[in-house]
Subunit: 486 residues, 4 copies
């Protein structure tokens, strides 16, 4: 099923980065508050987690408004459109930004997904992936269910609706027990906000609260993918939702239920690249951990060079760390054109090359210098090769590539769009082959152990590096059987 999407972005940004699929946001306010505007600010702060679609639901306990479309938050929500979801006595809201993985770039796959059920109208926004979604979906299809979208959320909502004898919280907890994978969701009815996180805590979810000091409004609870979304609406961080925990907010306040205790293995890429550098997740600050990754890299793989240059902006933190630990001066060797975005270039290699050139341009800093180039990851390697090439054309005498993540060799089943396995350069090439491919004088990736130390914390999902999937894998044999048929 193909929906036509005029003037909308494609999957190809020429940036060769892993892509997080979503950011989620929810609020419950005991007092009147402009939740449409708050949610706008909240998902705007999460824009880096998904640029394909944006949406929100707002309810005042009676009316239930929803608005969503393909595009950036500021594109989807112009003044009129934001007004159209605004409610004078808003009580609950959720919001979502999406980078599409499942179901590709379909307009009707935009979230929040809304539906009428025996528990009233519900809205759901989720980040992550259920590894057994197809299995559950096929079973439900045979039982007579309909699926309007190819969205995982619809499976979750069907599971909740099926338990017509349970209340919403119980039914949601029941659905959590049937679905496996890495996920963090916010769910709203007209009168309650629910947040829940997978037993491994692969995807992040935090709780915050707004002040009620001046009395004009207050005490509103916020649940979001990252703390930056809390700050955006004037809330302070209370704590992370625990792995396997379900929390809900209603007129009685905040409640918690530990549905499925698990061993915490949050996604390491949140610290490497995804999360904003002003966010702290599961107690670990991202910016500080990135600097530690750079310091670790400098200790593990020192090199004799003149300047340390980050690939802007993703290599910034690690470059500062590398420069500090090594004593080699940090410099701004690559200008990044802030207007480089979505052009209509065809998805050819030539066009991807051009995109890199339209986006990055070497400054005079690199001429005649031995450069340590710092990036957070290498996926296909194509962009890396072009960057190295740009530096050489600008007069760099040596380019030593240092990467603040281990080599990505395995696909992610928990909501990250890396690339097909055969396109992962580290999955099919040796270190030396990659070095040669990208044309660097030397190439080094941080070690898994080094990354773990730099992040610290209880445990980490490093499945894309080592193939050890803590939250399960899809039953591959089962995947396409009925799915293809329908």
């Amino acid at each position: 099923m193909t929906f036509y999407s005029p003037d909308l972005p494609t999957d190809d940004y020429g940036d060769d980065k892993p892509h997080d699929e979503c950011g989620v946001f929810g609020m419950y306010s005991p007092q009147p508050l402009d939740l449409a505007w708050m949610t706008y600010l909240g998902i705007f702060a999460l824009q880096h987690r998904g640029q394909e679609a944006a949406g929100m639901c707002v309810s005042d306990g009676d009316k239930f408004h929803v608005e969503k479309d393909l595009g950036l938050v500021t594109q989807v929500f112009d003044e009129r459109r934001l007004d159209s979801v605004r409610l004078a006595n808003a009580r609950v809201s959720i919001g979502h930004v999406r980078y599409s993985t499942t179901g590709s770039n379909l307009r009707f796959n935009a979230q929040p997904l809304t539906t009428r059920t025996n528990k009233g109208i519900l809205g759901l926004a989720h980040n992550g992936n259920f590894v057994n979604a197809r299995e559950v979906r096929n079973r439900m299809l045979m039982e007579g269910a309909l699926f309007a979208t190819t969205n995982d959320s619809e499976v979750m909502l069907n599971l909740i609706a099926r338990e017509s004898h349970m209340d919403l919280v119980e039914a949601t907890a029941g659905a959590m027990q049937q679905l496996r994978g890495g996920y963090a969701c916010v769910l709203m009815s007209r009168t309650a906000l629910i947040g829940f996180r997978d037993p491994n805590g692969v995807r992040p979810l935090v709780i915050g609260q707004r002040d009620s000091g001046d009395g004009s409004y207050g005490g509103a609870y916020v649940i979001a993918s990252e703390p930056c979304a809390l700050y955006a609406v004037g809330a302070r961080l209370l704590r992370d939702v625990l792995p396997g925990e379900l929390v809900w907010v209603d007129h009685d306040g905040l409640h918690s239920m530990m549905v499925h205790p698990g061993k915490p293995t949050p996604c390491s890429f949140e610290w490497i690249y995804f999360a904003r550098s002003d966010s702290s997740l599961d107690g670990v600050d991202t910016h500080a951990s990135r600097i530690r990754m750079g310091e670790q890299l400098a200790r593990e793989f020192p090199v004799d060079a003149d300047i340390v240059v980050p690939v802007p902006d993703s290599g910034m933190g690690a470059a500062i760390g590398y420069a500090r630990e090594s004593g080699i001066p940090f410099d701004y060797g690559l200008y990044k054109n802030p207007y480089a975005g979505r052009t209509f270039l065809a998805p050819t290699q030539e066009a991807r090359d051009l995109k890199v050139k339209m986006k990055l341009s070497p400054t005079s800093a690199v001429a005649g210098k031995r450069v340590v180039l710092i990036d957070d990851s290498i996926v296909r390697g194509t962009t890396s090769r072009q960057i190295v090439n740009l530096l050489r054309e600008a007069g760099a005498t040596e380019v030593h590539f240092r990467v603040s993540s281990p080599p990505i060799k395995h696909p992610c089943f928990y909501g990250i769009d890396t690339a097909a396995r055969k396109e992962l350069v580290a999955s099919t090439h040796t270190l030396e082959q990659i070095r040669e491919l990208i044309g660097a004088d030397s190439l080094r990736f941080i070690s898994e152990r080094g990354l773990k130390e730099a992040v610290g914390g209880p445990g980490l999902c490093m499945a894309c590096f080592n193939g050890d999937y803590p939250a399960g894998t899809p039953l591959l044999n089962d995947v396409d059987k009925l799915a293809l048929e329908v």
Copy 2:
């Protein structure tokens, strides 16, 4: 749930007419045919049946494309968008134009509705209303079903999907037996086209076939609301789908099953106003029947006057008939501005007055004349009053209003949007009160018996005139109980 619809039409056209809710169209071609284009032509020919939204599905047996949006057919389907649903080896397609009644003006309520089921992906387009849809929906909600839209079609699709042990045709027939009301639907899977009509044949549905003389293509079957849609794609009329009949087309050709034989009572308003004047339904030509209505009116309510003037264009046929029978000259006394359409006027009475004035303007024909003004119906009476007023301002010395339908006193439950009962002027006013209200020198409506004779044929639904509902009424007590809750 409100979706924001930028630049989209409102429900108020200032024309004070009953509104049909939909037109449906479907094709099955045994040989490659540009079904996207054919469906475009087909639903364009049905545009008068719904101007709020348009959509189509096309399948080649494997791919299943769908495209729909709010707007006219030519607005929704520009060249790019039509291309996006086009398939080289298209086999089945359906299309829809919608005037929204149930679920109001929601983008996601646009049809065809598509869904994945245990019978594969299905597309459904329907015209009409199921009077027990809420009842069935509530029952299914309790059983764990989800309803993404407020569209009746979703109930039909859920019923079909629930019968996981039946094939598609059997399950559809089963669903027909559970739903009551007036409806005409087309349903497609990847490999078959189904059409079905309610047991009373309240809503029209016809079958046609394209020639295969020259061999380049041929034998394609077409199912549509009116014959004009058949002609638009080069097909000839085979016959009407019978009341209570289900027909389907697959690689073996056209098949029929009489699911639920009933007493035919097709909607009288199809001949009075809805159907195009080049359509013939259930064996009765619309244009000829409209002339007969005018002749009947002239016999029932003659008047001494100088000219017969139609309200363009809906009163045209009856005005010609009235002029012929009475011998009073026909004249074009009201200019209709063809560009009058959707402006952004607020829905105030003053704005409605202005709309009429922007749309209709008297010509010199009426000055100093005693005018017989012919219209097809009076709903609220507001527009009629303004038209009478326009004629007087232009110098008409007398205005005798003749209406080719009986007074509308009851709401329609079978897919026609008349107005709330309290807004139906004939429901709350006597004939003399209405005459006074609209300011005519005399006012007469055709008699029910006269209308019946003018149309001829087996039987007619005249529920909006006499409150006798042949296809049942909603269980009003039951309507809003759970519906309001969710």
Copy 3:
């Protein structure tokens, strides 16, 4: 110079009609009045005179707002855009609708044209053509003038600006004396409204005034192409602007100057087709004259037949007249789809055929009948052929074509887009050849004398029929010399 015009109409409507190029409108109000809204209503009433572009200027004596774009009035002026030109104390306004001839379909050729001059900022909207515009333009180019557009209006404005020693009225009168052709213009400064009409009165222009009975507003003067635009804003017709007259309105009221007395020869096509049937121009009512044309046709070219059928809507008046005079019953034999408009069909003959079919469809009235088909004109003959064909396919046994204008054999130089001379079927074919081409059983055009009598009045421009150009012709040798060069 090509401007890109997304989603905008092309020149081809498949209607094979002559196209008027423009409608003009202007208002001057001594008291605060919502002139933006009034001008919207005024140009909306003139929409039939041009569908390519619309625009308006509004001034309050200080601010000077202008807004214009390609599209219909209701497309260009949505609520926001109309608000953007609105002024609380508006005093003067002009408006324009355009069917592009000169300069083709350029966005920047939309009118009103505005410019800063030594007489302050001016806005000009014009209908018609200056036959010596290129000559004057070339002369001014050599004197150092710039021309940003290919619009004739710019020549007029340059001529006005050159006379820096004269006041605006004098300079405008001076410009009138230098330009020849057929034109009707409205011109505004911040504080005055001017209207002027060519010495032959080829193009129409009327003056009206609003009541000031209730005191809330009053006395506002209106100048417009047709009276229907006066009525649209609540004004009554005062009189036609005389051929060669210049009128202006300022705080002292309405003034007149006869700049260039000439022999009145208004364009006969205004009565045949262009002007709305509720307009009266130069004292002659259009609807009444069309009925007289039909009566005249019936007298000149009677035929034995069963029904008289108009090509809707342009043949309506003449068909009524023909039916009356001949005694043959009038019938509605061709259904016109009101939604037929601008599709994205390629400009091929096949596509034009399809357009006719999408727009017109025969009713049951014609089956087995000998039909007199009435249309106002034949330009290329292609549409006529298709209509005749449609009638035959629907069972008409004979089709007798009667045309309420003489054969069009010559191009119009006064603002009408007929077609290139070689495309004028009557310029290259005999009557019998045309008849054969369009497939009619007989074909007759009204005589020039008959047309003159039907219209009546002082004189008529019939240049497109007989090649006698009362307002001069372009110096063809001179046309493209410098123009091509730049």
Copy 4:
């Protein structure tokens, strides 16, 4: 005169920076080359010089295409629109990006400006301001000229057109001699490209050439505001256009004429902020000079602190320099949201505060630290105050503000939009007052002498710092006399 601009950016970005008004680009290719595409790449590379509008002209010696609109380059030029200006045998092209100063945000003020003249059709794109434009314009108005726009370019084109006895190059040189100010322009006819720069070289302009090594294309000349635009189209930098020089390219190659030798005083802000950090102007590299500014600042105003933090991205170069010279560690203390752009916030102070918060967010780097905050300039001071505040809220114990430009006290008359003089905080406050206003612990601006040394080079325009205007000032008394009148 107000044009309505739907969905278009306002002047307020909440960034409180001076705004360059334009970037210009031109190409002449002796051999077929896709100049539409090249110009797209060229103006895309200059996007930082203007975000309000973009446009280009392309000619093949015969056709002359132009396309321009409000918006970013990638917004204005989608695939279809770029195609619409493309010419198979393109020979000359110019392009423009605009930040509007004169004439505000008008759609019809977008450049290139095109016009028909006695020298054929011309296109002009300019950067800068003519200080005597109004004077010249008023003189020409009295002589009968028209001005459709409020754009300075129109004055230049009128001057060129007036000299009907001269050829294009002579007439352009003549116009240069009549206009004063700071400007850099590209001008094209169908067959030639001209570039010229004001006698003081206030605005930059460079010449480059593409390789013709492989023979497929070659020798195309490029004239642009910055070298980055040359690199973007595969050209190498030949040299800067000299102050007062006019260069032109035609089928005979590149030619030069020194029209008006002057004392070079290029705008110092090009190095401080405007020019991209990968550009080198008048022989001085921007990135290197920014590092020197930071080093100079550290020498002039050392401070005891823990980290050096740039305001991203404008303070980056100077922050690196300050860190190097001072030995204080550089850190990334402010996260910049790359999606922060144009929202629909009202232009209130509260909204501006919010914009800063939506754009910048402190990282963990600043907590408990004494911060040296580096920015390139302070205009109104409002943004600076908010940034200081953000840092304090995030736990910075001290904030020492260092600015790599001297205090801006005077308006720029040469094309830079600083702000009205009364809004320039340094024009109305003492250093201590500003420090207090922005809430910093200390505040220091680089000295004028220090800036001069850091940039080096022959001379610098520092009018906005010291009020010494090397290229003249407007005759203020004369400015609004006639201009206001028209």
